[in-house]
Amino acid sequence: MLDLSAIESGYGETQVLHGLSLTARPGRVLAILGRNGAGKSTTLKTIMGLLPTKAGRITLDDRPLPARPFDIARLGIAYVPETRDIFPSLSVRENLELAARRFPCANGGWTMARVLELFPRLGERLDNGGTQLSGGEQQMLAIARALLMNPRLLILDEPTEGLAPIIVKLIHDKLKELKSAGLSMILVEQNFGFATSLADDVVVIGKGRVVWSGSAPEIRAAEDIQHAWLGV
């Protein structure tokens, strides 16, 4: 589905990714793990065209991925950033309506009613402003907004960061539902247990390149890798 091959990218003069390669396969969840500063979020931003690719190649179904974020979004890749980026002066409803459009590559039949069924809490707060939401509600809104783009591939950056354990469990259950429905996902996550219980495939990033790749059961068993690269 999505292939990254020998990617070099970073912020201005600072190079973060040094020849990173990975593959996200259809209908599966790929977890990208690594310590702080390893290049996990940079990888996602590079996929989304938010950071320029200095070298290497990104392909979606063997076709080169366009460089501009809106062209990438139109190919059915939705991104939930770490910062959630809820529009503060818009209500929950308006935030959702902003993303509710159908691109030619759309997939999944997500409607406003269906995302509210997935996240009933949002339905109770439709007329609340973006700033009046708790961290958990903001995360639900960010995921719901991405789903309304009817993506083929959902990319999530640290979806549990700063959330209470009960909300982490709720987000976990919802993502599990999405996985069961066959949605392909790439997940960047610091929470090892959360990531490996959701993921089918795992890559570990260190110093801007992939240092380990395998399945979720394999990483759970690979204590040396966990210790060396994840600090678990």
């Binding site: 990438i72 529009f87 002066s89 691109f103």
Partner: protein
């Protein structure tokens, strides 16, 4: 996202009542001032739509108003078009010009956007100033007003023309509110908050900016066509950057991003100009001092200050004054 509040409704009702009262009771000079306020208000709410809700601080809205004025004047005086057709064409031409400017400037931000729009404005000014067809430095005269006598309305009467401008302002305000509440307006708000996020949501950002800038230009064009009919004469000075600068001052003075505030600002600015200029020719100095005071007060203009006070008062009423328990304790003692 624009939302009406009871204070905003109340202010609009008060302004409309005052304008109607003045339109009915004022003498000729008073009607001229009222018309000037109303036309300026149309221009500044058009500017507020792009600057206050889209972060596109334009220094070419004066020029866009001038394009509307010259388009109307040329089409009626030189091309012999009927005023209603010329009015529609002037609005369309200005909207088209604004869309092109918006599309070109959409990729720039902040000071670069301001400078790019200023450059477009100055280009328009220089072209009109140096082109004999537009009357050059002498401008164009003999501009006819719309003929609505078939409906029993004579716009050559100052009072009727002022009421017509009030209706045009009301229509422009409703159009802008409609735009801001539409999907296009939501996208514009999203772009102002986080342009990159909107791109990642699959939005063609430059197109949204260009469309809104074009719509704003249409309203500025209406203001220009009304200004041409008001004075029945226009000069290239209407396209000067000073007009754009004054419009921006009025928006900031009234309250950026409030839509109601710029109307308050237009009234305050024109009244100040006329009242102070009767006393001293240094009226700009007085307006400058007031503008500095407004900016330094950190309130969002006159209306922003009123809104802040209103909200604080409402909060105090709900929760009671902060020192109320202390006072009660002292009384008990």
């Amino acid at each position: 996202m624009f939302r009406h509040t009871p204070l905003r409704y109340g202010t609009l009702a008060l302004l409309a009542a005052l304008a109607l009262f003045k339109a009915v009771t004022a003498d000729y000079f008073g009607l001229e001032i009222l018309t000037e306020i109303l036309i300026l208000a149309i221009l500044v709410i058009a500017l507020d739509m792009v600057a206050g809700f889209g972060g596109m601080v334009s220094l070419c809205h004066g020029a866009l108003m001038g394009v509307g004025a010259f388009a109307y004047a040329l089409l009626t005086v030189k091309a012999g078009l009927t005023p209603p057709l010329a009015l529609a064409a002037a609005i369309g031409i200005t909207g088209g010009a604004a869309w092109i400017i918006g599309a070109i400037c959409a990729r720039s931000h902040g000071i670069y956007f301001i400078m790019a729009t200023l450059a477009f404005g100055q280009m328009a000014y220089s072209y009109v100033f140096q082109t004999p067809t537009f009357g050059g430095d002498d401008g164009l005269g003999g501009i006819a007003r719309l003929d609505l006598t078939a409906f029993g309305i004579d716009l050559n009467d100052s009072r009727t023309f002022a009421l017509f401008c009030l209706a045009a302002l009301a229509a422009s305000y409703c159009a802008i509110v409609g735009i801001l509440r539409s999907g296009l307006g939501r996208s514009l708000t999203g772009i102002m908050h986080n342009e990159q996020r909107m791109r990642a949501l699959g939005l063609t950002v430059w197109r949204v900016k260009a469309d809104v800038f074009g719509l704003s230009g249409m309203i500025a064009g209406l203001a220009g066509a009304l200004a041409a009919q008001h004075m029945m004469f226009i000069s290239p000075g209407l396209l000067s950057w000073k007009v754009s600068g004054e419009a921006l001052v009025v928006v900031i003075l009234g309250g950026l991003g409030t839509l109601v505030g710029p109307i308050v600002g237009a009234a305050a600015f024109v009244l100040l100009k006329h009242e102070v200029s009767a006393l001293t020719s240094y009226w700009h100095l007085v307006v400058g001092v007031i503008l500095i005071a407004v900016v330094m007060s950190r309130a969002n203009g006159i209306f922003g200050w009123i809104e802040t006070r209103w909200t604080a008062r409402k909060a105090t009423r709900r929760t009671g004054p902060a020192d109320a328990p202390l006072k009660e304790a002292r009384t008990d003692a």
